[in-house]
């Protein structure tokens, strides 16, 4: 490898002036220079040096192959899906999305990012093909009746005890994932919901889901619907809406909100058992604990590796951080949840790279990190690459995201009784749920996390419609001041970029960094720019 490095060194040197990071350092341009104004469309892709550009190119090819495979798996349903569902069109923005996420990434950061992202792409493309192939609206398929549609915040792991049935988070395709890819898709559904009288001040994620239901744009499959009270009020309310539109027998899995208290466990445990009985009754399939254990083992391995990753995150030498970490954790935990061994393979490879980087005392992002930040509160999904921007613009590394701290307890893989207790604790700590509701201690845990991960800064997501987080404003800020953390509220409207634009979000950070801390940006081209028309 070193010989190759020597060989390409002159080439790298000759072409370095095309590298936006070099340009930013030398005042000749930067990451934004290669874009058409407003659109988010790049004139050319980022030059990252010979090796990294080729690596990025290879990753691009691999993702294209996944997409081709997806179409090959179910050509007609895929075409029909594109024609039927507006949200399907947004998946075409995936390549632009990936480019955006990993701008400025080099070396091991880039490799890990692509490994993680490819895992998501290969999983998601299979899921899209599977869902559309079995979508009753498009004609149905062999597994239409074998799918258990469930709410996106229910962990599918516990449903893996039903051999021959396929848990499928219903909102994932039209809403939960696609909102990350295209900032313009969910406002359409929000408008649909609001045109029926839903006030504009409710959480836009839930408003969008409601819009999807009203617009009759959920894929149709399964015999029942498993809804849930997680994570919050608006989510509960929209579930009732969806229940009516979907029109199937439903079972709300209402887990204890105050899940840290000792009274919670027996209740939530019984609720899971009730849910299992409900599925058994409607599908005629007995729950098989041995089948469940197979997947629980995979989940345990994922969590074991995740905990090891966290130890590295606490040091300055982790090449995994920001969106690369949070998006993967979000998908691999909430959506995959031990169901796909490919993710275990990726985890094993990634942890090797991280270990090596630590041994070599590798400083990621060219050693330009100035602040280590904990990202707390549900993030704006229309600005998924926000962590990438804070890194590139101000040298703020997002060490960990609140949502990454979802259930990390191990699950017993031998005794159903013990497994059920573990599973309950695990399930209760789902996405946007664990820290956002259920008692003051949960949200206040921020300080412990931030200290443990050696952060000097908190970026506090301020979803302007999140009723749970809004009620904490002053006390969080006062505590941050007392403890000496840099604390920035980042206002956003979760899925509706029209209310608080990406630039408005950037301004929250820009103002603090320039006015309060008096720092200069690493790349002046990305301090202020218009990307309102970008996906």
């Amino acid at each position: 490898m070193k010989a190759i490095d020597k060989l390409i060194a002159p080439l790298d040197k000759a072409l370095e002036r095309f590298d936006p990071l070099w340009q930013a350092e030398h005042g000749t341009g930067g990451l934004r220079s290669r874009y058409y104004d407003k659109t988010g469309v790049a004139k050319w892709r980022e030059w990252r040096g010979v090796k990294d550009t080729l690596y990025d190119y290879t990753a691009w090819i691999k993702n294209i192959i996944c997409m081709v495979q997806m179409v090959a798996m179910a050509p007609l349903p895929i075409l029909k899906g594109f024609w039927e569902y507006r949200w399907m069109g947004s998946y075409l923005g995936t390549f632009m999305f990936i480019d955006r996420l990993f701008e400025g990434y080099r070396g091991p950061e880039l490799r890990i990012a692509h490994m993680n992202m490819h895992a998501i792409v290969q999983s998601l493309t299979k899921r899209i093909a599977f869902a559309l192939k079995n979508d009753a609206r498009l004609g149905g398929g062999p597994d239409t009746e074998n799918i258990i549609p469930h709410d996106e915040t229910i962990t599918p792991l516990f449903l893996k005890g039903f051999k021959g049935l396929y848990p499928f988070p219903l909102q994932t395709l039209p809403e939960f994932i696609i909102c990350d890819v295209d900032q313009h898709i969910e406002p359409y559904y929000v408008d649909v919901a609001e045109s029926f009288g839903l006030p504009a001040d409710v959480c836009s994620r839930c408003a969008a889901e409601t819009g999807v239901a009203i617009d009759d744009a959920f894929p149709l499959f399964g015999k029942v619907m498993l809804s849930t009270n997680m994570p919050c009020n608006a989510s509960e309310a929209t579930s009732m809406f969806q229940r009516r539109r979907i029109g199937k027998p439903d079972f709300p899995i209402t887990l204890a909100m105050q899940h840290n208290e000792k009274e919670a466990l027996p209740y939530s445990r019984q609720t899971l058992l009730d849910a299992i009985a409900f599925v058994e009754e409607h599908y005629g399939v007995k729950y098989d604990w041995d089948e469940f254990f197979k997947y629980a083992k995979l989940m345990n391995e994922q969590n074991t590796i995740e905990l090891e990753k966290w130890d590295f995150f606490k040091t300055p030498y982790s090449p995994l951080s920001g969106v690369s970490e949070s998006l993967y954790r979000l998908y691999s935990w909430q959506s995959v949840n031990g169901q796909d061994p490919y993710f275990n393979k990726v985890d094993r490879k990634v942890i090797e790279i991280i270990r090596k980087a630590y041994e070599q005392k590798y400083l990621p992002f060219g050693g330009k990190t100035r602040h280590r930040a904990f990202l707390w509160g549900p993030s704006a999904v229309y600005y998924t690459d926000f962590p990438t921007w804070v890194q590139n613009c101000w040298g703020i590394t997002i060490v960990l995201n609140m949502d990454s701290t979802m259930g990390f307890n191990m699950i017993d893989t031998e005794d159903p009784e013990k497994a059920l207790d573990d599973l309950t604790r695990f399930t209760e700590k789902a996405c946007m749920r664990h820290h956002a509701v259920g008692g003051w201690d949960n949200i206040n845990a921020l300080w412990t996390w931030a200290k443990e991960f050696n952060c000097d800064m908190i970026l506090f997501n301020d979803n302007i419609a999140c009723k749970g987080m809004l009620g904490t404003h002053a006390l969080m800020e006062e505590q941050a001041r007392e403890m000496g953390f840099h604390f920035i509220f980042v206002e956003h409207d979760l899925e509706d970029s029209r209310t608080v634009s990406r630039q408005d979000m950037r301004n929250c950070v820009n103002n603090y960094m320039s006015v309060v801390l008096g720092e200069k940006p690493l790349d002046p081209t990305i301090v202020e720019f218009d990307d309102a028309a970008a996906y």
Binding site: D201, V202, M240, R243, T254, Y267, C466, K467, L470
Partner: protein
Amino acid sequence: MKDLKHLIYFENLLQDAQNELVDKAKAQGQKALGYNCYYIPEVLLNLPGCFSSRLRAPRCTSTDIAGYYMTGRTCPYARSILERAIEGGYNYLDCLFGAESCATMDRMEQHFFLINPVKNDKFFVTQIDPPMKGDQTNLEYYKVQLRVKVLEPLRDRLGVVISDAAIRKAVEQHNRLCRVITEIGNLRKLPNPPITGYEFHVIQLVSQVCPHDLILPYLEETLEELKTREPEAKFPFRARVVVVGSEIDDENFTKLIESCGAMVVADRYCFGSFPSREEIEIFNNESAFDAVCRHYLHWNQCARFMDGRKIDQRKEEVLRLHDEFKADGIIYENMKFCEFWSYEKVMESSIFINELHIPTCTIEKEYALGAVGQLRTRFQAFIESLEIKQIQGGK
């Protein structure tokens, strides 16, 4: 109609949370137990030696300080309660029994122990995790929550007797009050009732914010008065409506609707009598506490219940009130920023209008009666449409 003898007295009692009767009860040595939500059974807070005080923030027009803590983008009811607490309006309380019935309520109640706005050294707060379904699993959880977070703290921290006999006695007293209010409320079913919706709203509110033993004699006297009260010669309103929604503890809201020409014949909202004034029945094979839990879970009409049975029950209850009280239409209200009622309002109004063909109007309001002009216009238009419908013979 002739004025009710105690109406002005009742209205005055509603001007402050710490009203004359609250002071009187405190002077007698009774413990004042605050609560916000129907999920906390009022009857359990009226065990011997204590009284319930459902928190209101009358005449609260500014929530600047609460807005600092909770931003201005949260439920104005919750903010107003916090504001009033910070102003010292609840210093008479011995404790607050909260419920995490919604995120904002939860955060507001948390501030009661985080910033200690109630200046009372022994004051404490507990918060139950309220159930979201009406099934057996949730009933058991509800019992556990009420036992651990209400009954046991009452016993251990305030020395209240929580025996079955004590609860039975409280149920008996509670039922007596419920019978009076229900009997008064049922007068609204008459074609030309001897009571207005506003008057009933005032009566219902005082029954929730005053110590029961002290307000009951006044209520019983008012009932007797109403039995012989001469109604107007002709029904003075142009229409009859059921009001459905979230927190409405402002009697002037009902006055506003009635000033636009529609009598509020049924009140199905938080602070209303549906639910809250149903008598509690104790079956032979159950304890008084179990009966209370079963009763409250059954009658609870909160829009946060997620299971099909409870969702259907909500709709059926509104329909029942509409039919029994011979209403011409329904007004769905939601407090600004209330997510549950925002959704409920859209879904149920759609069902009532499009499937059951019952005229329904939806509005969103502040806690303190803001934007009165807009609301008035909306009500006037709705009432006019009801009138036109009557003229056209219901078509």
